[in-house]
Subunit: 159 residues, 2 copies
Amino acid sequence: MTDTLATGYLQIGEAADRAQLTQRTLRYYEEKGLLAPPTRMEGGFRLYSPEDIERIDRIRQMKDLLGFSLAEIKDMIEADDVRLQMRAEWRTDADAAEKAAKVRRAREATLQQIAMLDTKMEKMAEMRRTLAERVEKFDVRLKQWEADAPAPAVSVATS
Amino acid sequence: MTDTLATGYLQIGEAADRAQLTQRTLRYYEEKGLLAPPTRMEGGFRLYSPEDIERIDRIRQMKDLLGFSLAEIKDMIEADDVRLQMRAEWRTDADAAEKAAKVRRAREATLQQIAMLDTKMEKMAEMRRTLAERVEKFDVRLKQWEADAPAPAVSVATS
DNA sequence: ACAAACCTTGACGTGCGCGTTAACGTTGCT
DNA sequence: AGCAACGTTAACGCGCACGTCAAGGTTTGT
């Protein structure tokens, strides 16, 4: 229960608990290159920075939401790498326009992710419409069969 | 290339092609109870009705869109069963209010599916917002580093 | 100094969602 | 009747995403 060096760094147990994942999963993600190797204590214990924690949460989010493979997710979070590097390593502007190119690529990748989110959401909206129609047809059938309903009608927004 | 009995019935090959799945996958879905055993020709060849085809497509849609397990999808399409039964077996109203109960359960299930779609879409919208913000931050960084951009700015809707 | 809690790296096991032969039967056309 | 195209079941295999020991090292509190 120690706060792990007073800073926001966490050992793998706490990190796993907070992300609703297991330690095994975090190590596995590291193996697969989804997570950068975190810093370690002298004894070898992993120490996850707040940025690491943030990234872990984003991975879980993408996994739960989109249902992609880890390989696909790995590709998608390259943009995330750049963003996290911007936070830390950025005043170390040794090389010049090379980083700008990186940022541009990250920008493009993010735009593509937005586009794919849009198409997914559009398809889900379509699915929602057909489901709502279906509910209304059920309602019609039910009112057709019986005059009095035990539960009052619950309205469903039709698009 | 024969039209398979002039009606809309399809053999497994054609059915698989249209749904962008393999024959193996269709048989597997049948094994797992996602697909009802279709009618057969005298020799044992599977014949999928238009309703079967429709259902196959819905399963694929759900798999691609939601990223659920087949077991979860199986639960979700119980409501679909009722709907398809309404089309065919429904003038055979031998038992009375028992079917009404079925319809009510299907209705409830469909409502729950709509609710889960809504929460998923909300989360995706949130993700979209953070991605859009991220793009803008990239843009700021880029304009900060260079005065002229080779590609003109592409606007991203902010929520 | 010692124990309890926490961590480490292997390495093997597991469930899912199919892919892939193998061996064989059916259909449709000529 | 024969052949190509299409289908059948059964069984084994495989990659993914971890779960689950095993055997040992580290940290922390007392």
